[in-house]
Every structure is written in structure tokens, then in C-alpha cells.
Amino acid sequence: MSVFSELRRLAEVPRNERLAAAARAGRPVIGHFCSYVPEELLHAAGAVPYRMRAVGSCGTALGDTYFSSANCSFVRRVMDQGLRGELDFLDGIVFMNGCDHNRRLYDNWRHAAPDTGFSYLLFVPHAGSPACLAQLRLELVKLAGFLGERLGVEVTDDRLRASIELYDRRRRLLRELAELRRAPAPPVTGTEFLALMLAVTAVPPEDAVDLIERALGEARAGRAPVGTPRLRIFVTGSCLEELSHLELVESHGALVVADAICLGARTFDRDVGADGDPLDALARRYLGRVSCPRMMDDVKGRMAYTLEAVRAYAADAVILEKLEFCSMMSGENYIATHELAKAGIPALALTRELYGGEVGQLKTRLQAFYEKLGNRS
């Protein structure tokens, strides 16, 4: 069986046998939100970091008893899953102030107290100034102390360095695989790459490295699932985990070749490195990697990243993805639309609800956009 089939299977379920095996071996499974949470710290404390997702969610009925209709469908779905007991395999969750919806997910979680172990809120600064680096380091010290106490494993420098090395390796492998997508006939579709990202953030990182190596092996062996695409697409946005949505984007001859999304480049951009104090290194990496709109002082950096990636991956157009009620992406998409127009790059902004359906509407918009692009050339 192709490793991509296995990755797809792992991506489509909230829990899997690899997590269960780790749990049986005595390793706690700790959920975390957002690509700004340093998984290395969780791993150094003996845990298996599990990237939270709404995969397998059946709706928002229970989540809506806590959140309003003006809150995003991601947190409403995850809350719903928590209240239904579908996340009871977790031994704790590290929440983060990624956005207001996520921040309040922590509060509502504590209030509802589903059976998912401890809840911890990590504060990550919203800028990258020297004062913010010091502030993040302080927050990481607090998190390390908390995890050490709760999980009974002291987060020593040596343990942290070993975890950093493992995660840097995972990042390097992911970048290698992403690089292969520059080819005229990329060996991996955007949907497959997203499935891989979902899978490798839901299994122990040691297993993740093995899975990515196998995927790299298959990709290098000349695999090209769709041949040469008619349109090469760069996707940017925040929370995007629906494989069916990317399949829709990739319909009609288009192929996603690169991205700047949370479960994509933001996760594997830039290594932590082995030099110096590991907490300093973590703070530098997490505030220095390709940012998202929650970071206030890096609009130019994000736009430069997008323009460079569009060039490097020979993308024909950009799709700007946004979940309904995500204020941050609303602002970001306005800026990106203007910057892309200045650079002569076609862009389409899509707003959707997570697993919200609306396939007909989205399809119509995508078809119209692709036809417009096709007619241009």
C-alpha cells in the first residue's frame, strides 16, 4: 500500500492506533492548538504532542451552547467534540492565544471541564521585538515548569535539545518534500500534502519522521499523481484542514503547489537549531518563522514570503482562504489582495465555514476564477 494511502487514513480520523500505542506505553497525549506552540517542549516533557483539529466532527450543536454564531466554526466544532467525549484520549491540552476564538475556547473548556486532562493557556507575544523575545522565553519557562510538574518529567536542557533535534529533522524532511512540488509535474497534490501534515501532527514525532521519509522515497521514485497541471495554485490562510475542500480547489486541472497555512509552511519553516540556550532558540524560531496575521509587525515579511513562494513554485494564482468571522484574515486578505494585484498575480478570496459544505457556491467561484485565468493565457 502506498504510504500516501496510509497518511490519508490517518488524516481522516481524530485518533489513531499509533497514538493509542504510545498511550499504552505510558506516554501522555497532549493536544495543542496553533503552530506557535513549541511541540518540542511537550515532547521533552515525555508527551506525544497532538495537533488539535476538528476532523470527524459531526456538527456544532453542543459547541453552540458555549459559543455564539459570531465565533468561528473551528472552535465551535472542537468544543462540540470535547463535550461529546470524542477527545477523551487526551491527557491535557495546551491552548494558545492564537486568536480571540481560540483564547475563549480555553475559557469555555475550563468551564465545561470535559474529560481531557489539564488545560493550560500559553501566551505567545504578537510581535518579534527584543522585549517580545524575552517575554516568550518567560512564557516557555512557565510552560516547561507546568509540564514538568503535571507529567512528572523535568524538562532539562538535554531533553529539550534532543526534542529540538527530532523536530528539526521532521521540519527538514517536510521542506524536502515541499521542495519537490516545484517540479512541472509535482509528485504530490496539495490534498495529499495536507493529509500528510494532518497525519504527522497526530502521531508520535518518531513515527512522523518515518512516515515522511517513506513519502519522500515514493515521491522521489517518480510518482506524479495528476501529471502536469493546467494551473498551479498557492494557498494562503489560517485554519484549513478539510481535505474535501482542497480537492475542490484542485478540481478542474488546478494543483496546489505551495502554501502559507497553519498546517503547512508555518509548521516547517525554519529550524530551531542546536546552538546556545534551547529556550532562547525556541523563542527565536517561533517568533522568527513565517508568520500569520496574529503577528502584528510582520505584514511586509508575510507579503514578501507569498510573492517569493509564488515565484519559486511558479504559481499562476493565489487563493486566499478565510474562515467566517476570522477578523485577522479579513484584514490580511485585504492587504494581500492589494499586494498581489500590484505584482500582477491573480487572486481569489474564499470565505467558508469549516466543513460547512457550500460546495456548489465554492465550485462556481473556483470555476469562474479558473476560466478567467485560462482565458488570460
Partner: protein, 462 residues
């Protein structure tokens, strides 16, 4: 509504000038405001559109001569602040935009830099009638910016797009309290193209966190010195912080006076002080305003019978009050309900340690963390919930109202928790689906209808 460039600021300046002159007349001003009450109190129409907001700002004909005398000082501070903005537009000195939670001291400590807070437009855009907010919001909508960003931030953005705000020489943004603020700051920076520094505020009120925040404030001042080629006047900073500390002490006591039964009835005054402090922290005029308001409160506590006639039931507004039209005085006059505590005006500030610049800067940082809206919105919900619990314990309310601000994602996510708190205390809770700045979401008439129904259903009115 078509707005001429700078029309709103010019209207504020004209209104503040008029207010200063009229309120100088003492009891005659009080009588005058009573006399125009039938024309301005009940609703906005074509003839009273421009005057009604100013009238609401001075208590809708319900304030006493003492309260009016206090507000005269707010008018003087407002006038000076906005006049300086127009002077800066004309090239007299550089203008620095500050996100509203940024301590204004960061810029006001310079001798020759005009501070400006774009979000001030949330409070002043209806100086030209409630269509002022709508005009700003529509400008943003025409630009193609999504309407899920908080209306307060979109009003500021729209004001800039409509040339109501002069261009900045530099911007100091702030990472809190919410996504909308962070987004709007980035949009403002992008559209204006001005150099910017982002302050990362504290997430808790613990010393480590406040220390980190104050380091950001020092960095922001250094950034302005470098960008504007001007020296910061630390002596001016010291003077301002002393004034702030003294004003805070008075505001603390005024807040506590509202806890009495009957209360001192000064919630709207505290709300005004909140707004004035954002732009004018450290201004001695605001200290004078607080002193007079404090005396009004003392008088009322000594003569409880006067207030007992007014106060039939007590309300906590557990969210931001409606801004496009003032409701407290309407509730008081129509139903005898008195707002004793709210999200904005509740002014409990820790004293500032004056021993060094570092401790003073920490004091300024802490001051902003305890300011209404910031204190509840930053960090985890316990900041909001503990605050509501404290207000319920201290202010003895009979009911709670949550306006439900459409763009306020973090507050909208707390509905269940707030409801459970109220239920535990046996307090009726009204949650409205209004937007505090955008009357298109829910009109003044509809807000009044829902309030009326709530008061009647819960036996506060018949």
C-alpha cells in the same frame, strides 16, 4: 451621509468650545439643558441630529450643576486635544497615532509631538449625528474590507479613508485587547504607510508580565525618539504620572460610591472619565473634573434621600454600553433603573509607585491593564468573570444587561459563562444582539423596546 474632510473633528472642537462656554454659566447651564430636554431627549430626528450627541454627553438634561461643572473640564481637555490634532495637520508638529490601549504618555511626554488616538472616533463620530458612525463604516465596506471586524476599529479606519484623520508621522500599535484591534492596526499601518512599533501588552496582571509590558513602553519611546528625531521629556512624564495617580485615587472612590444603596449614580460620569483618560491621561483638567465629581458623590452619599427617589432598581452592564446613543439616562428617567457598574467605567486602579522612572512606567502599564475594556478583554476569561463576580458582590445589582457587541468575538464567546454566573446569583440577564457603534444592526428604538420588555417581564417596571 457625505462628510467634508475633518468635519467630525471640527464639529467636536466647535462642540467642546460651546460646551466650555455654556457650562461656564453654572446653574443657568443646568436650566438651559432642562429647557431643551423635550426637543433632544427621546430620539434623533432631522432637526436635532447634530445637537443630540453633545446633549447626551452632558447627561441628557439629568445631570446636576455639579456634574456639569465637572464636565466643563473634560470639554477643555477635549478641545485642547483635538485642536492640537488639527494644528499638527497644518504642519505645526508631527502627529503620532496611538492604538487606544497604548498609554498616551508614550507620545504626550514629548514637548512637540501631537498624540492622536484614531479609535477616538468610536466616541466622537456621532458628533454629526448617528449617521457619522455609519458613514465611516460604509467607507470601509466600499473598500471591500469584511464586516466581521469590530465596528469600533472599522469606524477608525473609515474615518481615515474619509479624510477625517490627519496622516501620522509614526504609529504605535498595541497587541491587545482583541483580534479586531490587531487587524485594524495592521490595516492602518499598511494604508498610511507610516513607520510603526508594536507594543505587546501583558497577558496577566502579574509583576513579571507588567514588567515585560513596561519594557515595551520604553522601547516605543525610543522608537519615537529615533523616528521623529526628538527627545522625550521625562520630567513632563513624571508630572503627568503624578496627575494620573491622583486622578485614579479619586476615580476609585467614585466607583466605590456607586456601591452604596442608593448609589451615587455616577456611572455615566465614570464612563466619560474613561474616554477622556484615553486621550488625555495626565491632563490636570481631568484631575479637576474628577475632584468635582468626587464632591458630587460625597454630597449624594450624605443625602441618600435625594437619590432614593431616583433609584428604583440597580443594573450592571456586563459589556460595553451602547455608544451610538446613550441609554443610561433614558433608563433612569423612564424606569428608575440606575446603572451602578459597567464594563467601561468601573475604575479600580492600583496606586503608582513614584520612586523611579521604571516603577512609574510599570504604574502606567498597570493603569492601562486595569482600564475598562482592557482589564476584561486581555488574557483569560477569569479577568472578565472575576470582574463580573466582584461587581455583583460589591454593587448589589438587581439585573444584568449584556449588549452583545457584534464584532466582539471574545466577549460573544463568553455568553454561557456570563449566563451561568448570573444564574448562580439569581440575577435576570438580558443579552441583546446589538452592535454598540452600528445602529444598522439594531436601532435605538429596538434597543429601547428590548430593554422595556426585559424590565417589564422581570417586574422592574409595569
Amino acid at each position: 451621509m457625505e462628510l467634508k474632510p475633518y468635519e467630525i473633528i471640527e464639529s467636536v472642537i466647535a462642540g467642546a468650545k460651546l460646551g466650555t462656554q455654556v457650562l461656564d454659566k453654572g446653574p443657568a447651564a443646568w436650566a438651559m439643558l432642562k429647557a431643551v430636554q423635550p426637543f433632544l431627549f427621546h430620539g434623533e430626528h432631522r432637526l436635532n441630529r447634530a445637537a443630540r450627541f453633545g446633549y447626551q454627553k452632558v447627561g441628557s438634561g439629568r445631570w446636576t450643576p455639579g456634574e456639569l461643572a465637572a464636565y466643563r473640564h473634560d470639554c477643555i481637555a477635549t478641545l485642547a486635544f483635538f485642536q492640537r490634532v488639527l494644528d499638527a495637520r497644518d504642519g505645526r508638529e508631527p502627529l503620532v497615532w496611538l492604538g487606544w490601549p497604548v498609554p498616551v504618555e508614550v507620545a504626550s511626554g514629548f514637548d512637540d509631538v501631537a498624540p492622536f488616538v484614531p479609535e477616538a472616533f468610536m466616541a466622537i463620530a456621532n458628533m454629526v449625528g448617528t449617521d457619522g458612525h455609519v458613514a465611516c463604516l460604509e467607507a470601509v465596506e466600499r473598500e471591500g474590507i469584511a464586516d466581521d471586524i469590530c465596528a469600533m476599529d472599522r469606524v477608525s479606519l473609515g474615518a481615515y479613508l474619509l479624510k477625517q484623520i490627519p496622516d501620522p508621522a509614526a504609529i504605535i500599535s498595541v497587541a491587545h485587547p482583541c483580534d479586531a484591534g490587531r487587524t485594524a492596526s495592521q490595516l492602518m499601518e499598511y494604508i498610511s504607510g507610516a513607520p510603526a512599533y508594536t507594543i505587546n501588552t501583558a497577558y496577566t496582571k502579574e509583576d513579571d508580565d507588567v514588567m515585560a509590558y513596561s519594557k515595551n513602553l520604553f522601547e516605543a519611546i525610543a522608537f519615537l525618539e529615533d523616528t521623529l528625531h526628538r527627545k522625550y521629556n521625562w520630567e513632563k512624564f513624571r508630572r503627568g504620572v503624578r496627575v494620573l495617580d491622583e486622578q485614579n485615587r479619586l476615580l476609585d472612590e467614585i466607583t466605590i460610591m456607586n456601591q452604596a444603596i442608593p448609589s451615587a449614580g455616577l456611572a455615566l460620569n465614570l464612563q466619560t472619565a474613561w474616554g477622556s483618560k484615553i486621550t488625555g491621561s495626565g491632563n490636570p483638567e481631568l484631575l479637576e473634573s474628577a475632584r468635582i465629581t468626587h464632591k458630587v458623590g460625597q454630597f449624594r452619599l450624605r443625602h441618600p434621600r435625594l437619590r432614593r427617589r431616583v433609584e428604583k432598581f440597580r443594573i450592571i452592564v456586563a459589556d460595553m454600553p451602547i455608544v451610538f446613543s446613550e441609554m443610561y439616562m433614558w433608563i433612569e428617567r423612564t424606569f428608575g433603573g440606575v446603572v451602578v457598574g459597567d464594563y467601561i467605567g468601573d475604575a479600580i486602579f492600583p496606586p503608582i509607585d513614584m520612586t523611579s522612572l521604571e516603577t512609574m512606567m510599570m504604574g502606567v502599564a498597570r493603569d492601562r491593564l486595569y482600564m475598562g475594556m482592557i482589564k476584561q478583554a486581555h488574557g483569560a476569561a477569569r479577568e472578565t468573570v472575576d470582574d463580573l463576580e466582584r461587581q455583583i458582590a460589591h454593587f448589589s445589582p438587581d439585573c444584568v444587561i449584556q449588549n452583545g457587541h457584534q464584532g466582539c468575538k471574545h466577549n460573544r464567546a463568553l455568553g454561557r459563562i456570563v449566563r451561568d454566573v448570573c444564574r448562580r446569583h439569581g440575577l435576570p440577564l438580558l443579552v441583546m444582539e446589538a452592535d454598540i457603534f452600528d445602529k444598522r444592526v439594531m436601532s435605538e428604538a429596538e434597543v429601547k423596546r428590548q430593554l422595556t420588555a426585559f424590565f417589564v417581564e422581570n417586574g422592574f417596571a409595569s
